[in-house]
């Protein structure tokens, strides 16, 4: 069975209103239930830390990563300068000139 989607939107307004009024919930005093439900919610969420107290952990991780990158970058030029001297071959004039340039 195929149906046009539009037909599901088509019901005379008077009929829709009648349906709604026929199913109208009677007014209820829910203050006690409101209080109990919201109290439960507050109790369940109470253990959570505020956002500002959760940030330092991430900040510490980020800072550690940045410092590590910085230190590694500082160390790289020295390693490059030392490369010819650590090579497994006798030193020659090119090594001397490299060191002189540094």
């Amino acid at each position: 069975m195929t149906h046009n989607d539009d037909e599901f939107e088509e019901l005379p307004e008077a009929l829709v209103e009648a349906l709604k009024s026929a199913n109208e919930a009677v007014p209820l005093i829910t203050a006690r239930v409101d209080r109990e439900v919201l109290k439960m919610a507050r109790e369940q969420f109470a253990g959570r830390k505020p956002a500002w107290r959760r940030r330092p952990a991430w900040a510490a991780v980020a800072a550690t990563v940045l410092i590590t990158i910085f230190v590694v970058q500082l160390d790289q030029p020295m390693q490059q300068a030392n490369l010819p001297m650590r090579a497994a071959r006798p030193a020659d004039i090119s090594d001397v000139l490299t060191l002189a340039r540094e």
Binding site: M1, H3, P12, A18, S21, N23, V26, L28, T30, R48
Partner: protein, 182 residues
């Protein structure tokens, strides 16, 4: 729905105050819907309030630290509907005050106060339960067809088919014709 998604996200990951406030907003926004659903299955206000409390307790337990968190893939009403309905039916079965019934919708639908709408409960009672449920969700609760399918855990095509048949019955009924006549 998008706003509900945002509030649910705060309930999942917000701090104590934000999460409680977000939950309160969700509760205030949807409690009338839950009460309305409950009153379709239980005959008195006290029972409907119990259903309301149970439904939102269920929702609350979806969030950390008790639950793993909630991801909304449909509207929140389509999640709340089956919870409220099952809670109400369980309460109805447990209680000695209510007659036991296999019919998922009670026959004692609220009666309307104005003359024009007074035939509608009679008309609704004449519909098969499954068609009546889809009709009520569509035109009284304003759920989309997809949300109805999610809420009832049935294919979209089945929703369309049931609604088509319910509307056909409704349009052809003398009660509806009387209501629509000038």
């Amino acid at each position: 729905m998008n706003d509900d998604v945002h509030l649910v996200e705060i309930c999942n990951h917000g701090d104590a105050r934000d999460a409680a406030n977000a939950f309160e907003t969700l509760y205030k926004r949807h409690k009338d819907f839950v009460i309305r659903v409950a009153l379709r299955f239980v005959p008195d206000n006290d029972s409907a309030l119990d259903v309301l409390q149970e439904t939102f307790t269920y929702l609350l337990r979806k969030f950390p630290p008790i639950g793993p968190g909630l991801t909304l893939t449909a509207s929140l009403t389509s999640l709340l509907y089956p919870v409220a309905k099952n809670s109400a039916l369980t309460l109805r079965r447990k209680s000695d005050r209510f007659p036991h019934s296999d019919d998922v919708l009670p026959d004692d639908l609220p009666t309307a106060t104005n003359d024009g709408a007074s035939d509608i409960p009679v008309l609704l009672r004449g519909l098969p339960v499954e068609r009546r449920e889809v009709l009520v969700l569509r035109f009284i609760d304003d759920l989309s067809l997809q949300d109805i399918a999610t809420a009832l855990n049935i294919p979209l095509g089945t929703v369309k088919s049931r609604l088509h048949l319910a509307l056909k019955t409704l349009r052809e009924s003398p009660e509806a014709k009387k209501l629509l006549s000038p």
